[in-house]
């Protein structure tokens, strides 16, 4: 979609971009993101995430304006239009400053307050600060626009360097704990001060990464590999896989207990994602009640192994796990039956209803004698292997790593199997698939059942790690989490599940300030992904070609055609 095509290119385009960028910052400020993020220092104590967020609008506006003018061969105008965009991007946030100054303690807009004004005005007071904000925004607009004038090589290097510095600054706490094992305490203490990157270190890292990527270290390897014969490439890939496995095995001991716990959670979501990917990505059945199977797995594990539970803990983890999976699969089939004849949106809402019914039932007094009602199931034992208790997150990480690998293996084999092709045929067109002799009932039920099995296994592991489970762990938000991560990673793509889980589950766990805005980000991300990049960040090859085939055909015919895959 290219909005600028319909208009002649002049200062109005720049103005519109600027105001739009500024309005987005106004929005982020009003919902409290700027204030919340400002507690996380990035570089030194003078640059925090809130400030970066509040100038982001101007940079983006300048960038987009610059690119538009460059594309239209108006190189001379790039900088001045970028400046205009940037200046105008500084205007909408002024509303926040005015509101926050006039009514510092609003009961309505709880996040527009003196604190926000302080951040937006760089602590210079309302009047001077407002001017400063506009000037800074203008400068950022110029920088954004100037960026597009750089050569391709410099641009890439600049992005690389900026990313490194920003990521290190963002995750400075976690990076510190990891690096301590390799660099020693004193080096880390110098590198990261006040929970942020040391300014001098930031400059050095920036210079190093910039130089490295400018002189193309590491880029040559890729072309070298591609020139190798295919047999050699296969061998290389095998080596990579083995190296990756070794890395994955060593990971928890490099990163410590807290990050292992995060990795464990990411792993759980990878397992669930693999399952939902089969249902949504392969078979095209949008299931919003996926959390129900997670709950079935968790409760089965809890009821069967907890000594204080309904059965008094008759089984251990390893015996209960297959039963939990079986229960999940069975319910996958049972809940699949009523929805066999439904499509798309109906299916989504009915499965959503299922998820809610399960949650309501889990809370109810009716089933409380068995599954504990609002009290949940308590005292679920951690699994042990040959008498060795897998008590620490590091050990549980291995369990979940194994589970994810098995899930990924099954999913990969299924994708390339006859059944996988049937699923994809069904996803593209049910009627045609049926005409081709595909048994829709069987194919759909298998998708639900296998997906449910993965989720139940994940739930069972979850229960034995947490030891106590409560009904409120099984809300709709889990389903939305899993759905978001497979969409961000790329529907139908297996590496995409891992990427999606790492971004959407791992990152909010590391950045606690983000937690409050987690679902807001997911929601916005779903919309933006569907508008701009429907194939996801790590798409399946065929799907990517499919989704962009039409674009190549009629590039001028903008709008909706971009996502013209299947119906």
């Amino acid at each position: 979609m290219n909005l600028t095509q319909e208009h002649t290119l002049d200062w109005r385009t720049a103005a519109r971009n600027g105001l739009l960028g500024g309005t987005i910052i106004l929005y982020f400020g009003a919902i409290g993101m700027v204030s919340t993020f400002s507690v996380r220092n990035m570089v030194g104590t003078f640059l925090n995430l809130g400030q970066i967020l509040s100038i982001m609008g101007a940079i983006a506006a300048g960038l987009i304006t610059g690119r538009t003018f460059l594309k239209a061969d108006q190189r001379a105008k790039v900088i001045q239009m970028g400046a205009l965009s940037g200046l105008l991007a500084g205007l909408p946030p002024l509303i926040l400053i005015i509101m926050g100054t006039l009514v510092p303690n609003s009961t309505m807009f709880v996040n527009i307050n003196a604190e926000l004004v302080e951040i937006l005005t760089f602590g210079l007071g309302a009047l001077v600060g407002s001017l400063a904000l506009i000037v800074v925004s203008g400068l950022m607009g110029v920088l954004g626009a100037a960026f597009v004038l750089l050569g391709e090589k410099y641009r890439k290097a600049l992005i690389n360097a900026l990313l490194w510095v920003l990521l290190l600054g963002l995750f400075s706490e976690n990076a510190g704990t990891v690096l301590q094992k390799f660099l020693g305490t004193s080096a880390v203490r110098w590198l990261f001060q006040n929970k942020s990157l040391n300014p001098i270190a930031a400059i050095i890292i920036f210079a190093l990464t910039f130089a490295f990527s400018l002189f193309g270290v590491g880029n040559k390897g890729k072309t070298k590999i591609q020139s190798l014969p295919s047999e050699k490439q296969k061998q290389l890939r095998l080596i990579y896989i083995v190296l990756g496995l070794v890395f994955a095995l060593a990971l928890p001991w490099m990163v410590g207990t807290f990050l292992s716990q995060v990795l464990f959670i990411v792993g759980l979501y990878v397992m669930m994602g693999m399952g939902l990917n089969i249902v949504v990505g392969f078979a095209g059945l949008l299931d919003l009640g996926y959390v129900a199977f997670f709950a079935f797995g968790a409760y089965t594990m809890g009821v069967l192994t907890s000594p204080g539970g309904f059965t008094g803990g008759i089984l251990n983890f390893w015996l209960a796990l297959p039963i939990a999976i079986l229960v999940g699969v069975t319910f996958g089939i049972i809940l699949g039956f009523p929805v066999l004849n439904m499509r798309g949106d109906y299916l989504a809402i009915v499965t959503l209803g299922f998820g809610e019914i399960i949650r309501v039932l889990a809370y109810s007094n009716w089933l409380a004698p068995i599954i504990g009602g609002a009290q949940g199931v308590l005292g679920i034992p951690t699994p042990s292997l040959f008498g060795f208790r897998l008590g620490k997150p590091e050990y549980m990480y291995y369990l979940v790593l194994l589970g994810s690998l098995v899930a990924a293996f099954i999913a990969a084999r299924l994708r390339d199997s006859r059944l996988g092709r049937q699923w994809m045929a069904m996803r593209e067109d049910e009627d045609v698939a049926e005409t081709m002799g595909i048994n829709l009932v069987q194919t759909k039920l298998l998708a639900f059942a296998i997906g449910a099995g993965f989720s139940a296994a994940s739930g069972a592991i979850f229960a034995s790690r947490l030891q106590n489970i409560f009904p409120n762990s099984f809300g709709i938000l889990v389903s939305i989490n899993v759905l978001s991560l497979i969409i961000v990673g790329g529907l139908g793509s297996l590496p995409g599940v891992v990427v999606g889980a790492a971004i959407l589950v791992g990152m909010p766990e590391l950045l606690r300030e983000f937690a409050e805005y987690r679902l807001l980000m997911y929601g916005l991300l779903l919309i933006v992904m569907m508008l701009a990049k429907p194939e996801g960040f790590w798409p399946e090859e065929t799907r990517k070609r499919e989704l962009h085939a039409k674009e190549d055909w009629d590039n001028n015919d903008a709008d909706a055609e971009v996502v013209g895959a299947a119906d």
Binding site: Y27, A30, I31, G32, T107, M108, V110, N111, G284, L286, L288, F337, P338, L340, N341, M342, R343, G344, D345, Y346, A348, I349, V350, L352, G353, F354, E356, I357, V360, L361, Y363, S364, N365, W366, D431, V441, I476, I480, L483, I487, Y517, L519, L520, Y522, G523, L524, L525, L526, I527, M530, L531, P534, D559, A560, E561, V563, G564, A565, A566, D567
Partner: protein, 353 residues
């Protein structure tokens, strides 16, 4: 009717068994409850009126689903949150009106102001969502706008959480709505009657708009066939915008009614469950069908009010009121199995269903 046994698949058998069991359970529950004589007819009457008032709120929200579905054949997943937006914003005005004493002096004018504000906010939001999340994706695979709709739903919820905070806010008491109205042998809270009749007025107004005005005619034409309507010189985009605006305005009004009706207050997640329930109501009456949505809403309200006591207690389930929410969702599943086209709906063609 001759049934060809060879063509009868085991799925159909399962579904038939499911239907029979469902009906049997409902009948057993009702018979057990009624024969136990635990509740008097007055109590049933009270429940029915409560159900009607709640149902009229569902009906108003359901109209938004139905209007949009009728024209775009998509479920506006974010509609429940559009309903929330109006009610959540207007509660601050209500608070102001109550503290300044304006509410006590001009209660009806205040209510009108609140409804206007809530409807405007919901309407603007509905139009905005259409513009950002749905319009660029018109003609995309059906999964795509559905996913953006889910995204929009969560984005709206957490935007309002960020704007107004995560807490609950209660609507102040409106003096003329307090107290009961005597209905012979039993009393009905006055607020329920007012909500019911006010909702009825809005529904009639909508029906009149769609059936009698030129814009309504255009909406019906677009619902029938978009291409032909375009050829007739109808501006499809503006018709769609009007449709979203109408649905949003009704949802905003429903939000105010809900605030008056229920003391526990409004908060950012309040739209989620009523959203699904209203969708159930729309499906119950036949999605795309305006009188159907009204009827479906009222019916669902009554089923939900009577359900826990009438079916579930008869089946011996303790604390049946906890399962109230599950009833609505079960109704949704049952209606989609028994009669997916709804009570008044025509059988949808394969493409639409």
């Amino acid at each position: 009717m001759k049934i060809n046994l060879e063509r009868l698949s085991w799925v159909d058998v399962f579904l038939w068994v499911f239907r029979v069991v469902a009906i049997a359970l409902i009948i057993i529950g009702i018979v057990n409850t009624l024969s136990s004589g635990k509740y008097t007819s007055e109590q049933w009457g009270t429940l029915i009126f409560a159900g009607l008032a709640q149902g009229s709120i569902y009906a108003l929200i359901a109209l938004g689903y139905t209007l949009v579905y009728g024209i775009l054949l998509m479920i506006n997943f974010a509609h429940g949150d559009i309903y929330m937006a109006g009610a959540f914003t207007a509660v601050f005005l209500a608070d102001k009106l109550a503290t300044t004493g304006f509410l006590a002096v001009h209660p009806w004018l205040s209510l009108l102001l609140l409804m206007l504000l809530a409807s405007t906010i919901s309407m603007l939001l509905a139009v905005l969502v259409e513009r950002i999340a749905y319009r660029p994706l018109r003609g995309a695979p059906r999964l795509v706008p559905l996913i953006t709709a889910i995204g929009a739903s969560f984005a709206i919820e957490y935007t309002f959480r960020g704007l107004y905070g995560p807490g609950f806010h209660s609507y102040p008491d409106v003096p003329p709505l307090m107290g009961d109205v005597n209905m012979g042998t039993f009393a009905v809270p006055r607020v329920q009657l007012v909500v019911f009749f006010a909702a009825l007025v809005l529904m009639v107004a909508l029906y009149y708009f769609v059936e009698r005005t030129k814009m309504g005619k255009a909406m019906r034409a677009v619902a029938e066939d978009k291409e032909v309507a375009m050829l007739m010189g109808i501006d499809i985009d503006s018709v769609i915008v009007i449709t979203f605006a109408l649905g949003g305005a009704l949802a905003g009004a429903a939000g105010i009614f809900n605030g008056l009706f229920r003391p526990q207050g409004v908060y950012f997640f309040m739209g989620f469950v009523p959203g699904i329930k209203a969708f159930t109501a729309a499906v119950l009456g036949g999605i795309g069908n305006i009188p159907g949505a009204m009827f479906g809403g009222l019916l669902l309200g009554i089923i939900e009010a009577l359900g826990p006591n009438l079916f579930l207690e008869g089946l011996g389930i303790p604390a049946a009121n906890q399962l109230k929410d599950a009833i609505a969702f079960t109704v949704l599943v049952l209606i989609l199995i028994f009669r997916p086209q709804g009570i008044f709906g025509e059988r949808l063609s394969e493409k639409k269903a």
